[in-house]
């Protein structure tokens, strides 16, 4: 299996562990990730300029098309954005024509010949749950995880085609493979708040805190994410923005690739565990109880 690896803007500098852990986890399954000179997925620009958003995404799609590679991205915003662009380019012929006219300046064009995948779909569908189950050497029994779905991969379902938008199960299925328990929590499908960070911090943090309180009340040891922005929100932002007297109530976040990597017996170093802002030790007793804990 070979994919063009779409990292997005944030991973290289803010969440390097997502890249290293993704590579580490995919390698044993024989998945090759190819780096192309991608640009921004377009999402941040959609608020201001629809056309720019589509062009940004279309350029990435066209680059991958040129290499005849499907795209895989570990970020749900990037996924949603690329899928939206695909949707619009299919739907609106005038848009397609105009975008291709700009792309032609670089010798590129969008034809719609490749697919965009999210990392979780690749794991669940392309690699397959049986192979993942087979790769587990250290099941994480005793750990209770709240799966955070992230909005942009899930909705709108007629555009993103990810999973059932109202009752998705892919993430819980994948977490179950690691041996960890999942909880059904009321705010499972809600927004992490990151899209509003820097725009309305109070609101952004309120959304985040509602989710962490809910996860805690549901008995989760940690929140598991599979999105760059969600992880940044629950990890770096939660760590930086939680007042001193409330730090006890923080709920750490872990990337799915890190969780899977640990259960696959990969080294903490390759998974970048120590680069998470909220130390994994905060997982508390549950973590210590893991077989072969460190």
């Amino acid at each position: 299996m070979k994919f063009a690896f779409f990292k997005g803007c944030k991973i290289p500098y803010y969440l390097g562990q997502y890249e290293t852990s993704t590579r580490a986890v995919l390698k044993p399954f024989g998945v090759r990730l190819v780096d192309l000179e991608f640009n921004c997925c377009g999402y941040p620009n959609r608020d201001l300029y629809f056309e720019s958003f589509v062009l940004s995404a279309a350029r990435n799609l066209a680059l991958a098309e040129k290499k005849k590679l499907d795209i895989v991205t570990p970020c749900k915003c990037c996924y949603g954005s690329l899928k939206h662009a695909v949707h619009y380019l299919h739907e609106n012929e005038k848009l397609r024509r105009d975008v291709n006219a700009v792309l032609a300046g670089e010798g590129l064009s969008w034809k719609g010949t490749i697919q965009v995948h999210h990392l979780l779909t690749v794991l669940c569908d392309d690699i397959g749950l049986p192979a993942i189950y087979a790769s587990i050497v250290r099941p994480l029994g005793g750990l209770t995880v709240a799966a955070h779905y992230g909005c942009h991969a899930l909705r709108p379902s007629n555009v993103v085609h990810f999973d059932d938008p109202l009752a998705p199960s892919i993430f819980e299925d994948l977490i179950a493979a690691t041996g960890a328990k999942t909880v059904d929590w009321p705010r499972r499908l809600d927004c992490c708040g990151n899209p509003l960070l820097g725009k309305n911090n109070a609101l952004s943090l309120s959304l985040m805190r509602t989710k962490t309180s809910d996860a805690a009340e549901s008995g989760a040891d940690c929140i598991c994410t599979a999105c760059t922005y969600c992880q940044i929100q629950f990890d770096a932002v939660q760590s930086a923005e939680t007042p001193e007297d409330q730090r006890e109530s923080m709920v750490p976040a872990i990337l799915y690739t890190q969780l899977l990597g640990l259960s696959m017996g990969l080294s903490e170093r390759s998974l970048g565990i120590s680069r998470n802002a909220l130390s994994i030790e905060k997982l508390g007793p549950a973590w210590k109880l893991l077989p072969g804990a460190f």
């Binding site: 299919h90 569908d125 379902s157 059932d164 892919i170 309180s213």
Partner: protein
């Protein structure tokens, strides 16, 4: 280690049943099908269950024009049968109706929504309008309200600043004559004190957290007085209702109950959550209907559901379809100035001759509006039929409110109709196909 199902499906698989629609009828049909080990796929939108009040009606008014209320729903069914009504209930035995209800009730009970009913008696529930509604069974969360009304015990109804659809004072004032011990209280919902408006689902979400419940109880408790029950608008959580009811009851020292209100209805959200999350675990494949492009029929009679969008298009094959798309709100029936039609299969419909005859000039006309009894005519196997009464397809069934000759809003039979006809459709399919194919293979 057993492998959980993949969220992906095998495109070559031929499903036994394809349920189209995601209201109560669609959900019930899916439930009955998966419970019978039929491989089932369901296509439906969000709507449907979201608009349900949480009450499960069987029947309480018949005949509609006389506004005759029945204490015992089964007797109403008998009366209807005696009159030779064409109501779909008359195509199902009372036993089957009973069985279908039991199966639904046990499923919901196992999924965290206990339903309470009194075998041969309709329950009386107070609504946010201050009316008393007859219904067959209610969720656990509304049960103390039934008891409270019956005993007319001292009761405090609480509402919240900014929840504009619910006035405790309205309920209490309207019912004062028959229930003098009813009082009302308004409080600011914890954490939302500064809001102009609050919304039911948001209150429900907030109550999922124990801190909110503690804060709420702290405000209500001093005002309890002699109240032996506390009634609240139906906002007591979506996922953890039982915990919330129990917790609030403990904190207040008296039973707490919910009063059904208009959409967006939290009990509807609750029901949707259960169906959405539990049915797939029983093996149901669910598709959101935004992905369903069209339905065709293969040469061998199987139905082909085209799903997808953009560049990807997949076909799902099923041996039968249960059409449970509902009426106008569910888009099971569409209408224009010329008439009403069924968009998926273009089924012939029983309908008034012209639009003048659709509605009365009075909204609350006792006879109910003729358009509401229009719909799909079926045979005893719940297969849509043509003008001559012959089934249009031997493997197409219809269930729920799309059926003709019923006015669920006036007869108060929506849920019962949905559940019983879904049951009948699934069993008819098994009768006609599974046994037949078993015979064939034997």
């Amino acid at each position: 280690m057993t492998l959980p199902k993949s969220h992906n499906y095998d495109p070559t698989h031929v499903f036994d049943v394809m349920v189209i629609g995601s209201g109560i009828a669609g959900m019930a049909a899916s439930l009955f099908a998966v419970n019978r080990k039929l491989s089932t796929v369901q296509a439906g939108s969000v709507g449907g269950t979201l608009f349900t009040s949480g009450l499960f009606d069987l029947i309480s008014v018949y005949p509609v024009g006389e506004k005759k209320l029945w204490e015992n729903p089964w007797e109403a069914l008998d009366a209807m049968r005696r009159d030779g009504s064409r109501h779909p209930y008359n195509r199902i035995s009372k036993e089957d109706i009973q069985v279908s209800f039991d199966e639904m009730i046990s499923f919901l009970g196992a999924s965290g929504m206990k339903l309470r009913f009194d075998q041969n008696r309709n329950l009386k529930v107070i609504t946010s309008m201050g009316t008393i509604k007859y219904t067959y069974c209610v969720p656990d969360s509304m049960w103390p309200g039934v008891e409270a009304y019956e005993t007319k015990a001292p009761c405090l109804i609480v509402d919240f600043n900014g929840l504009k659809e619910f006035s405790a004072r309205q309920v209490a004032t309207t019912l004062r004559e028959e229930w003098p011990a009813l009082r009302s209280l308004r409080v600011a919902f914890p954490g939302m004190a500064g809001r102009d408006e609050v919304f039911a689902a948001h209150l429900a979400q907030a109550l999922e957290l124990s801190e909110t419940r503690i804060a709420l109880a702290r405000m209500v408790k001093p005002e309890l007085g002699d109240a032996r029950f506390v009634g609240l608008p139906a906002v007591l959580g979506i996922k953890r209702t039982q915990t919330i009811i129990a917790h609030l009851g403990r904190l207040l020292g008296v039973p707490v109950f919910e009063i059904p209100m208009m959409p967006a209805s939290v009990p509807g959200f609750r029901l949707k959550e259960i169906f959405d999350s539990e049915l797939p675990q029983k093996g149901l494949l669910r598709l959101i209907d935004k992905r369903v492009m069209s339905v065709n029929r293969a040469e061998n009679g199987n139905f082909l559901l085209n799903i997808g969008g953009n560049n990807e298009s997949q076909v799902i094959q099923a041996r039968s379809v249960i059409l449970a798309t509902g009426r106008f709100m569910g888009k099971g029936l569409l209408s224009d100035r010329q008439g009403i039609f069924e968009p998926l299969f273009n089924l012939p419909l029983h309908q008034p001759d012209n639009r003048t005859a659709w509605h009365h000039e009075r909204f609350l006309h006792p006879a109910g509006h003729p358009i509401n009894s229009a719909g799909v005519d079926v045979d005893d196997s719940f297969r849509p039929v043509d003008a001559e009464g012959r089934p249009i397809y031997d493997n197409l069934f219809a269930a729920g409110t799309i059926l003709a000759h019923q006015d669920w809003m006036r007869m108060k039979c929506g849920s019962g109709l949905a559940i019983a006809t879904a049951y009948a459709a699934v069993t008819a399919f098994i009768e006609n196909f599974m046994k037949q194919s078993t015979r064939e293979s034997a």
